[in-house]
């Protein structure tokens, strides 16, 4: 497994909001070690679920040994929340928030450049290492412990792929939703690199979609460096150009970012591509049998 393991100690930023409090409960139920929450002005209180609340992330780190953060803060304040977690030198910050202005993320991206913290998201379902911990909003019960990694730009489509894997008895090492925005913290290559070094991962499912060139870059990188099999799916073959398909980053513009370009690049790199979103589990099953 990567990113989330038994040593993960989580702080929830925005823990007293409706999303934050609901998902804190869900994460605790799954067995995630939630050691702290942060809501400025509510420091000193404790949630109904017994999690201590602090005013700052630094305090959550110093007093509760938090090493990972998840962010449920509303869009206008989310960029600031990310930078606060980075400033507190946590290992990992996972931003669930959807709808952060691009200009804010440009600043966050620059701010993080020489810092130690890794970011996943924003606009993502989070990260789960089945059995070890769930950080985010994904349904825990569809996952199974195992040795296939999943990296995806989507939310529910990831659940669909995981469901296909689990129902075939193929468990997952770690599943990461990298987010549907144009600027994200960790991209396919960053995470493929981690999976490459992870003995607990034998193969990876990669789910991309229209917009940008991240899949093309990942294909080129994987061909040179990645030593394990990959099964890929690209959503949006039928998406019209120039329209934002839900995710801020899912848009074909100026003829760039089409599904067919991405599929061609993946295939050229020797990666198995499922034509159908219903065929991801089956294709992985075939590959693992070889």
């Amino acid at each position: 497994m990567i990113l989330v393991n038994n040593d993960t100690k989580l702080v929830v930023q925005g823990i007293t909001g409706s999303e934050g409090s609901f998902h804190t409960e869900q994460m605790l139920e799954y067995g995630t070690k939630v050691v702290a929450g942060v809501t400025p002005g509510k420091g000193g209180q404790t949630t109904e679920t017994g999690v201590p609340i602090f005013n700052t992330v630094q305090e959550a780190r110093d007093k509760a040994q938090a090493n990972t953060s998840v962010i449920f803060v509303p869009p206008p304040f989310a960029a600031d929340a990310i930078m606060e977690a980075v400033d507190a030198e946590l290992d990992l910050v996972i931003c669930i928030t959807e709808g952060i202005p691009t200009a804010d993320m440009v600043k966050v991206h620059a701010y993080m450049a020489d810092k130690k913290t890794r970011m996943v998201g924003p606009n993502c379902p989070g990260v789960i290492s089945p059995g070890a911990g769930k950080i985010g909003i994904m349904p825990g019960f569809i996952h199974q412990e195992g040795k296939v990694g999943v990296i995806s730009r989507s939310g529910t489509l990831t659940y669909e792929a995981v469901h296909q894997l689990s129902s075939r008895g193929i468990g997952q090492s770690t599943c990461i939703g990298i987010g549907g925005d144009p600027i994200i913290g960790s991209n396919f290559i960053d995470l493929l690199n981690l999976f490459n070094q992870d003995d607990g991962t034998d193969a990876v499912v990669m789910i991309g979609e229209i917009g940008g060139t991240a899949e093309e870059e990942a294909a080129e990188w994987a061909q040179k460096h990645f030593t394990k099999p990959i099964v890929a799916f690209i959503a949006g073959t039928t998406a019209p150009p120039g329209r934002r398909m839900g995710h801020a980053g899912a848009i074909i513009s100026g003829g760039k970012g089409t599904a067919s370009d991405k599929i061609a690049a993946l295939k050229a790199a020797g990666i198995a591509v499922s034509e159908s979103p219903a065929g991801i589990g089956e294709l992985m099953e075939e590959i693992l049998k070889k």
């Binding site: 202005p101 529910t156 669909e160 600027i183 959503a235 899912a250 100026g254």
Partner: protein
């Protein structure tokens, strides 16, 4: 969000980016009045629609006198323009921009976009003005010169000078272009723009740098803090069903097919469209109902899908995570009491409480076609349209 050229030029003026004198007109009479107010004897009458390629489609005319302004205004207003960006249905012109004619010595290109690879905004210029920039980018990428903007620092003078020299500008024009670029960067930055394009950027006969055209797009995520920009939204440029959907907080995009679909999550919604196509159908829409598939969102979704008369069957694909499938099933049943749907409905529920959900659907009075897997759902919905 997109805006019109005349609106982008209003923003340009506010930030001191030089543009030709002119104004918007909704009728031939107004067009004539705008022309009369200009100190010029040549005028340009430009159709205002949210699409490029207007010139080739007959939406831009040069008028050599005031009578011609009236003539062309009457000709263009109400006309449906079909360009490479409008789709086959085209767009009907409801507004004109009337401007003074400009004596053009050189046509250049300038733009600012987000570079997703570096996570920075990038300034781009090219001497190939007036051309389709996508074409220049793919055929002669070396003709596009770029400078990346350091966040927090903004555009630097040396960068603007480099771009100005790359455009072959000389002497006083360089100074003017640098000033121009700073003004443009300010306009872009202050308004949370996601794209600005000036094609062509011109050098006038008297040697001045000016934005002859102006295109601006804005980051939808930032509109909450851009009240002035949001006022520029022109609902008549948008598909009515999409406007209605957005008022319900539904993410809907109308397409040309006959299989309506309702899905939770954007990626799965795209995947559902793709699998419909794979099984021989054509998706009629993209619709992401989001995380809460309650009776209200589902009935609004049905209403919008069914407003498209091409729809011959509907596929509902919900992957229940936090949202429970039995609740979604109840929502679907309740919604169908409110909205009449006369075409076959295929429902596929997966995830949390999927079996209870399927049982509720099967026991209801409504004739659902229930599927358990995504492939089965696609197969059943495409079979339904063939019957």
């Amino acid at each position: 969000m997109n805006i019109h050229e005349y609106q982008a030029k209003e923003i340009f003026r506010k930030y001191n980016v030089p543009v030709p004198n002119g104004g918007v007109a909704y009728s031939a009479e107004e067009a004539l009045n705008v022309a009369k107010s200009l100190d010029s004897n040549i005028f340009v009458v430009k159709a205002q629609i949210h699409a490029g390629g207007r010139g080739k489609a007959g939406g831009v005319k040069i008028a050599k006198n005031l009578d011609e302004v009236t003539l062309y205004a009457n000709e263009i207003l109400g006309k449906t323009l079909i360009t490479h960006q409008t789709g086959l249905a085209g767009k009907t012109v409801g507004r004109l921009l009337v401007e003074e004619g400009i004596d053009i010595a050189r046509e250049l290109y300038m733009g600012i976009v987000l570079d997703r690879q570096t996570g920075q905004f990038v300034f781009m210029v090219s001497i190939e003005g007036g051309m389709e920039i996508e074409k220049v980018a793919s055929e002669t990428p070396e003709k596009i010169i770029k400078e990346w903007i350091e966040p927090g620092m903004g555009l630097q003078a040396f960068q603007a000078r480099k771009l100005a020299y790359a455009l072959g500008l000389q002497g006083v024009q360089v100074r003017e272009a640098v000033k121009f670029m700073f003004a443009l960067w300010n306009a872009f930055n202050a308004s949370d723009a996601s794209l600005v394009e000036i094609n062509p950027l011109v050098v006038t006969g008297s040697g001045h740098v000016m934005a002859l055209d102006a295109k601006m797009n804005f980051d939808d995520n930032a509109l909450y803090r851009q009240a002035e920009i949001f006022k520029y939204r022109d609902l008549s440029e948008e598909e009515p069903s999409e406007v209605e959907a957005s008022s319900y907080n539904l993410n809907y995009i109308k397409l040309d097919g006959n299989v309506g679909c309702m899905v939770n999550g954007a990626g799965l919604a795209m995947g559902t469209m793709d699998i419909i196509k794979l099984y021989g159908g054509e998706p009629a829409n993209f619709l992401d109902v989001g995380g809460v598939a309650n009776p209200d969102t589902v009935s609004n979704g049905f209403r919008i899908i069914m407003s498209d008369s091409n729809v011959k069957a509907v596929l509902i694909n919900i992957f229940g995570g936090i949202v429970r499938c039995d609740r979604v099933a109840m929502g679907i049943i309740l919604a169908l009491e409110k909205v009449k749907v006369s075409v076959p409905i295929v429902v596929r529920l997966a995830g949390t409480n999927a079996e209870e959900g399927a049982r509720l659907l099967a026991n209801s009075d409504i004739d659902f076609i229930v599927a358990t897997s995504l492939a089965e759902a696609a197969e059943k919905v495409t079979a339904a349209i063939k019957e």
